[in-house]
């Protein structure tokens, strides 16, 4: 990942943290201390949000400062967000997880089918899409998906649709 890419992510992340901290600080004024309690429910949230806000600002400042002195060569670790060829895999992985969670909430299809389907799609997203790979993914998805579904539903009594 290049320093520029990392700096952008750090800056955006820091800004998001600062926004969350501001929400915490504003919300903390809604809680008044109880009669016998000197601190109240708002003390820790307010002051931890202030400290976090300051630290996040330091992180953003540090990343901007590092950018001016860092080399332009990328580090050896390839992060999905910095590599265009991996971005679609990354987005696909998150969407697949979110889609599976959504289908568990709205049981249009029984989980006995969507669980192997989830595994199948995830394996294909991460691996290759050749015919042999698809057959391997299909067999593993059916075997493992069904086994894990039965384990969680019948042994651990998880309420799967």
């Amino acid at each position: 990942m290049t320093p520029l890419c990392r700096t952008k992510v750090q800056t955006v992340f820091s800004l998001c943290i600062i926004c969350v901290c501001v929400f915490f600080i504003i919300d903390s004024f809604n809680y008044r201390p109880a009669l016998r309690e000197p601190l109240g429910a708002a003390f820790i949230p307010r002051y931890s949000a202030i400290i976090t806000l300051l630290l996040a600002a330091c992180l953003a400042w540090k990343s901007q400062k590092t950018l001016r002195t860092a080399s332009t060569e990328a580090s050896s670790k390839e992060h999905p967000v910095s590599n265009r060829s991996l971005r679609w895999r990354f987005a696909g992985a998150i969407l697949t997880m979110a889609g599976y969670a959504a289908l568990l909430k709205w049981p249009v299809i029984p989980s006995l089918f969507i669980t192997p389907l989830f595994l199948f799609i995830f394996i294909l997203i991460l691996g290759s899409q050749t015919k042999k790979a698809m057959w391997t993914a299909f067999i593993i998805a059916i075997t493992l998906g069904t086994s894990l579904h039965l384990l969680f539903r019948n042994v651990l009594y998880v309420n799967l649709p």
Binding site: R6, V9, Q10, F13, S14, I17, F24, D27, Y31, A34, E37, P38, L39, G40, A41, I44, P45, S48, A49, I51, T52, L55, A56, C58, L59, K62, S63, T69, K77, E78, H79, P80, N83, L86, R89, F90, A93, I94, M97, A101, L104, K105, T115, F118, L119, F122, I123, L126, G127, T136, I140, A141, L144, L148, F152, L156, Y157, V158, N159, L160
Partner: protein
């Protein structure tokens, strides 16, 4: 202790111990997966087990996973776990020149000795430390939690600011939900699902596993080349004679580093390796396949296991990230970690202590007999391993309260954990902050209620003052070191 041992050697707990060590070794041997992930994944599955059996399984996995990193470090040149980083330096060169079996034998024996020596400290120190800890009041508990957070933030790899920010994010993540002292809902922003806050298990699953899976997407398709090890893995007597002092020194280093809250096997093995190299008459041989290097690294990293359990079982403070997850397991079984756990549930504590011993012995024989076979599992394609792991995470999150919100929490914290990785924010302080925040807050508010709002009562508690001084000194020296490093870099 006898009762605990008698419990473990019955069929079901013994089976769990064997299974835990076996799975731990396999996961530890696979680069990219760690004991943290395995234990996090197993915690929700122990929900239906007895608390004693659950702890036997988790401790066995802990021991197995720390030891399993040796296999891939030696045969694949990839540390299976962070604690095996230093093992690569000498283990792989030794394997390359045809002595893979000898490298593994040195590592396995070092792991076994390190585990045994630190276990002696765990067994002898725990009762007295627990008695001392039971006398703690709210001021001591608050400053101890603050000290643990400061320690992990300052000792973790990377900058102090990143460590502190990570810890503060963990504290903030623990705040939504019911206020522990007044029972009122806070920081829920009108979201009903947040009334019980973020669950510990979904947060653990998201931060440790889903974030790792998202990060590993970049390494899909890269298969390591395996060196085969042939020969016996039992160490010969002359080697014991040469290495006994190195093993003892490394065990002591690993034990004491393990006791430091938040510092784990990786720091223990690095410090021990460095000490061994500096003390050696032939330091130039380190890094070329030297047996002293393997022994120093592997002995220390296993010694940190029992060392890290000492603050956990006596004070309820996690000695490492894995111990933070073990705290989650205790909470899942309605057990409150802390000094009173020793008083109220002594059998559980001694089962934890005895599990370390039994798991260590099982690990030695399992590694010695099955190392070469387990190494082949490390070459399983990553894209086939990750999806079932993610599925187990999502269903594991659902398993705790049968609440789909927990699944979204796991995914959300997985993305957060991934972003933290990119920004070089360590995960350890986050989790320890998340776990210790409620304890610290409740203690501080109780202390101030008891003193009528007076902060001066703090100065009447010398132990609390000492903890506070250690916290401030630790932060000061870490900040000074960082400012010096940044000014010299500029």
């Amino acid at each position: 202790m006898i009762d605990a041992l008698l419990h473990i050697i019955t069929p079901w707990p013994m089976f769990l111990c064997l299974l835990g060590v076996f799975l731990g070794i396999i996961v530890g041997a696979i680069p990219g997966f760690s004991g943290t992930m395995l234990i996090t994944l197993t915690v929700p599955l122990t929900f239906t087990m007895m608390d004693l059996d659950a702890m036997v399984l988790l401790i066995a996995m802990y021991v197995g996973s720390v030891s399993g990193g040796l296999i891939s470090a030696t045969l694949l040149r990839m540390p299976g776990t962070p604690g095996a980083i230093m093992t690569v330096l000498d283990g792989y060169p030794m394997a390359q020149r045809g002595e893979a079996a000898r490298a593994l034998a040195l590592g396995v024996t070092g792991s076994f000795v390190g585990g045994l020596v630190s276990w002696v400290f765990l067994y002898t120190l725990s009762p007295s430390l627990a008695i001392w800890g039971a006398k703690f009041g709210p001021w001591e508990t608050f400053t101890m939690a603050a000290m643990a957070l400061a320690l992990i933030a300052s000792l973790t790899q990377g900058s102090l600011i990143n460590g502190l920010l990570s810890a503060m994010l963990g504290i903030m993540a623990s705040l939504p939900g019911m206020d522990p002292s007044t029972g009122m809902l806070r920081m829920t922003f009108g979201i009903d699902a947040l009334s019980s806050g973020f669950g510990l298990v979904p947060v653990l699953l998201g931060i440790f596993i889903i974030s790792q899976v998202l990060s590993d997407i970049g390494s899909v398709g890269k298969m390591p080349e395996l060196i085969t090890a042939k020969g016996s893995l039992f160490l010969k007597l002359p080697v014991w004679g040469r290495q006994w002092f190195n093993m003892l020194r490394s065990s002591l280093i690993g034990t004491w580093i393990g006791i430091l809250p938040g510092v784990g096997a990786s720091v223990g093995s690095i410090v021990s390796y460095t000490v061994a190299k500096n003390a050696s008459k032939t330091p130039e041989k380190f890094g070329t396949g030297f047996e002293d290097g393997i022994i120093a690294a592997e002995t220390a990293n296993n010694a940190t296991i029992s060392g890290a359990l000492i603050p956990l079982v006596t004070l309820g403070i996690p000695g490492s990230t894995v111990d933070a997850i073990l705290i989650g397991a205790l909470l899942l079984h309605n057990l409150q970690p802390g000094p009173m756990l020793f008083v109220n549930h002594p059998l559980l504590i001694y089962v934890i202590i005895a599990s370390c011993l039994v798991a260590n012995i099982v690990m030695y024989f399992m590694m010695t007999l099955m190392c070469q076979k387990i190494a082949k599992l490390a070459t399983v394609p990553v894209h086939l391993l990750l999806p079932p792991i993610v599925l187990c995470c999502l269903l594991g999150s659902l398993a705790i309260h049968n609440n789909l919100f927990d699944v979204w929490v796991a995914i959300g914290f997985g993305v957060l954990g991934y972003l933290m990785k990119i920004c070089k924010l360590p995960h350890g302080p986050f989790i320890i902050g998340f776990i210790l925040a409620s304890l610290a807050e409740a203690s501080l508010r109780t202390a101030l209620m008891a003193s009528g709002g007076s902060w001066m009562a703090f100065f009447d508690r010398p132990v609390a003052v000492i903890f506070a001084i250690i916290t401030i000194v630790m932060l000061y020296f870490s900040l000074r070191r960082e400012l010096r490093a940044s000014s010299s870099a500029a």
